[in-house]
């Protein structure tokens, strides 16, 4: 007998969807209803079918899958009846059982997930947002707004109307059509220009802590100026993509959102490994291809400096240009002696400072003309 469509089954399924929402996935009502529909088609009493139906309708990226798996186990196995590896027959009864322990079942499942998330061995620290006075906030915002972002350009594939170039047959014919078929002057076109992608890799490890905040503000300024051509990642002991968070209009709001996303504020640095992860997960697939990649870091590498050098070499092969932004560079007496920087130097196109607003302005100029 299939339970799908019965109010109990629906309650279990909708409860599961709201658990996922509580765990941070973007579950909209239409996704929930698609999930319920899918399960009713695939069969509610088949645990595997329920699992795959949910994964197809509720998840929208690879990142969601992991969280989904954990939540699914917690929700559909939170039954006291559960014994070892459940056969599909017993699995069918589990959702009802989890419902019978209500109203705490939702809570306990959520707790299980929280516990699972908190028990990672790595020491993860969250960023302590500095409390600024209202005046300081406006001043800071004004300062960053004063930075000029001119997006770097590249030649596009798509051709645009121009007074020189090859003959644009379609526009020429269209012009003739407009004049009812009389001969009209030839129209021409040539490749247009598009924004070149900028990728910012911001080091947020302990040694970069004094600069992390302003670097993120700079990233926010760039994301706001050219939203479609920027990707921002934080690097430390992990790689986190924070581009969506930085799309918020207000800098404070964006920084707070980024702060919630990043699990490794002021931790250690494993630049080589993390840049390698960036290359595997994003860079080689296209994000770094033809892009201008800016690494904002002091180059203090705890891991193997040779690995870092190798990864930056890989990065340079993919990217249009690799720019290293080092907050210490602008200071008097600086020499690039850290092992990390040493290993990367041969593979960098530019090295700029990153300790002041003037240095940021310099970086933005470099972005436009590398």
């Amino acid at each position: 007998m299939t339970l799908a469509g019965s109010p109990e089954a629906d309650k279990v399924l909708v409860g599961f969807a709201s658990l996922l929402r509580a765990a941070g996935m973007a579950i909209t009502p239409d996704r929930t209803s698609a999930f319920v529909e899918a399960v009713s088609l695939a069969g509610f009493d088949d645990r595997a079918a329920t699992y795959w139906s949910g994964r197809a309708t509720l998840c929208s990226s690879l990142d969601d899958n992991e969280l989904y798996d954990r939540a699914f186990t917690a929700w559909f196995a939170a039954s006291p009846e559960r014994t070892g590896t459940a056969t599909p027959a017993t699995a069918a009864r589990q959702p009802q059982a989890s419902l019978s322990t209500e109203p705490n079942s939702n809570q306990s499942a959520a707790d299980a997930i929280l516990a699972a998330r908190a028990s990672t061995t790595e020491v993860l620290r969250h960023r302590d947002l500095a409390r600024l006075t209202e005046q300081e906030r406006t001043e800071l915002a004004l300062l960053f707004d004063s930075l000029d972002v001119v997006p770097p350009l590249r030649r596009a594939l798509r051709r645009r109307p121009h007074h020189r170039g090859s003959v644009d047959l379609r526009r020429t014919l269209r012009a003739q059509l407009r004049s009812a078929g009389e001969l009209a002057p030839l129209r021409r076109r040539r490749p247009g220009l598009r924004g070149r992608r900028i990728v910012l890799l911001i080091d947020i490890s302990g040694s970069m802590q004094p600069y992390a905040d302003s670097l993120l503000r700079l990233a926010h300024r760039i994301v706001r100026a050219v939203p479609h051509h920027v990707e921002v990642f934080t690097i430390g002991t992990r790689l986190t993509r924070i581009t969506p968070a930085l799309r918020a209009r207000q800098a404070e709001e964006a920084l707070a959102a980024a702060g919630r996303l990043v699990p490794d504020w002021s931790g250690g640095t494993r630049l080589g490994e993390v840049i390698g992860a960036f290359l595997n997960r994003w860079g080689r697939r296209g994000v770094a291809r033809g892009a201008i990649v800016v690494i904002a870091s002091d180059g203090w590498e705890r891991g193997d400096a040779r690995l870092l050098g190798e990864q930056v070499r890989q990065l340079q092969l993919l990217a249009y240009a690799v720019v290293w932004m080092n907050p210490h560079r602008g200071k008097p007496g600086y020499a690039p002696i850290q092992a990390g920087i040493q290993a990367c130097l041969p593979h960098l196109d530019r090295m700029v400072g990153g300790h002041s607003l003037a240095a940021f302005a310099e970086l933005l100029e470099v972005l436009t003309d590398v």
Binding site: A34, E37, A38, A48, A56, T57, S60, L62, L177, G286
Partner: protein, 295 residues
Amino acid sequence: MLSTATVSPAAIGDALRSTGYLPSEGLSTVVFLATAMNRPLLLEGEPGTGKTSLAEAWATVTDAELIRLQCYEGIEASQALYDWDFARQILHIRAVEATAGDDLDAAALEESLFHERFLLERPILKALRSSNAVLLIDEIDRADDEFEAFLLEVLSTFAVTIPEYGEVRAVTPPMVVLTSNRTRELHDALKRRCLYHWIDHPQLAREVEIIRTRLPDVSAQLAAQVASAVQRMRISDDILKPPGVAESLDWARALQRLGYEQLDVASAAETLGAVLKYREDAERVRRALAAILAR
């Protein structure tokens, strides 16, 4: 032929299997849901895991026409949906002018200009008008994000609105398969309309089965050796581009063409170019070949 009213995920799996495509349990369920719910299917996964071949296999199963739209940067609606045949329209005007003489009916001429015969079908429109089609929108992540907006109407209502002509609605909605290599994040509006599935590399046993099904001439022993060597390469961290199933198939084919019955260090070194496409990877693996081939 399958009738969608009676099938189950298992039946779908068997049907795909009969064409030589070996789906995982999850994938069969998702394909079942896509047909039952009439929703587009968004497939993501490493290159070479069979995203595109699924659409091909499904077209074979349902005996449908496979209509493929390869996305690229700068693709526009006029290349994906429809276009007007300007040259023929002008010819038409000229012809009407020449024959009609003075009593030219301008309104009728205008009307006749946007007739169906001047409408150029591009893949999406073609799929909507076809009675039985699988529409494959390949590598959607290569298109600009603005292009996704063109797809929204098609994917949710299976209709295209052409301003001069009217709405074209699919009588039998085509099965739509979108693939993405994740070079960029797709817009949520697009994802919401689709069922999502991430295709992983297959497990060892299934990979052996895939090689055996696709290449019946390859011996069981060679297939098993190739599959386990490729699986070991995949779990190694320092491979830049882990080989996909497509590469395993190429490798097995290469070995078989050279007449090898066994995968040993010598034959592997000779044919490594079929699996690994980066010089760094090839060097790294060549150094560790003995360990990778050890049973």
